[in-house]
Subunit: 200 residues, 2 copies
Amino acid sequence: MAKQNIDRAFNREAQYAAKRRAVIRSAAAAFRRRGYHNTSMVLIAKSLGLSKAALYYYVKSKEEILYECHMMIYDAMDAAVKSVRGKGDTGLGKLQLLYGGFANLLTRDGLGLLADVDSLKGEFQATVLKRRGAIERAVTRIVKQGMGDGSIRKADAKVTVFFLMGALNWLNVWYEPGGRLSGEHIAEAFVEQMSAGIKT
Amino acid sequence: MAKQNIDRAFNREAQYAAKRRAVIRSAAAAFRRRGYHNTSMVLIAKSLGLSKAALYYYVKSKEEILYECHMMIYDAMDAAVKSVRGKGDTGLGKLQLLYGGFANLLTRDGLGLLADVDSLKGEFQATVLKRRGAIERAVTRIVKQGMGDGSIRKADAKVTVFFLMGALNWLNVWYEPGGRLSGEHIAEAFVEQMSAGIKT
DNA sequence: AAATAATTCGACCAGTAAGTCAATATAGGG
DNA sequence: CCCTATATTGACTTACTGGTCGAATTATTT
């Protein structure tokens, strides 16, 4: 029954991983609503029907949870960047796809850009900043491509990108799932306003 | 010498008020850099060459400091709103003036939009949210005016406004005074991108 | 059913930071 | 030069919360 055993073990592992993800996701939602420091471990635990001690069976520290929250969103954004490779004939077209994808992540998929980078220390913070930088650089590259092919108006690329990323970030603060505005609606409006703001 | 006494007393009062303001301003800068919860009262005190206990001679609590930080920026924004009354012939023109004014507050004047509203409780939080709502409503009013007079493309006003406010808010995260980009430069670029994004 | 491994918990520990207070230093006014 | 009000402090208290640990409980294997 070696095969069975392996299956079982695999299943257990998967179960563990799933629960760990649940912890991260639940914490992420709480962090987004109340902020990192206003969310205690007991609260995260209780919202999952667990005790605080049980939480530490799945994560090493609160900081690690925050770190994983960041990784989650950056994984998704990296995937979005990758998915527009080759697509879109102009820089602007590519950026439209990517920006819409980002907006969808933040609304439809319930992921949030956490701003609490300062609460992370050492290696954790360095990694998060590195990945954020990578995203910004990817967007900047596309913007510059657009400026090169004439689809995007020439301007300071850094300012342009930060302007656009800021609008996205603010979504966390005001967007409420299930409200009057659907995620798709917002994504569409954002892409339109973004495009109009930067195209030639 | 009653007059003298009154003058002196007034001077003392002014001195007190000035020092109190200094506490708020210094704390605001620290909050913006490190975040509210990562900034201890001792740190605020030491950066002013005081002990923590002395701080409590000027403020009632840390929360009050955060509250006053918010009031400071909202006072400035209210003033900016007031200052564009009557100016600008179209909605777009008025919004350009206001948006540039906001950008200047955040860069040149070193004021920052604090996002830590969740760390405020009860009446404090209610007041801050009320004032933030008032600013958003003022901006929305101008946007709608612009949609009415044909200077601004018709769209969902709420989304439009939040998009623009988000870009402003993100300034706090990435803008560094004394860097390559001057406040004026950024304000100009923001106004241009904002205008292009929403005009007809 | 016994033995073993995976989960979960109550109770506790330790560090941190806000806030208090009695005591002290400083500065003008008489 | 004293006296009063203002300004400042060191030492202390208090409350919270992240994190640990051994025991208990539950699931799994043999």
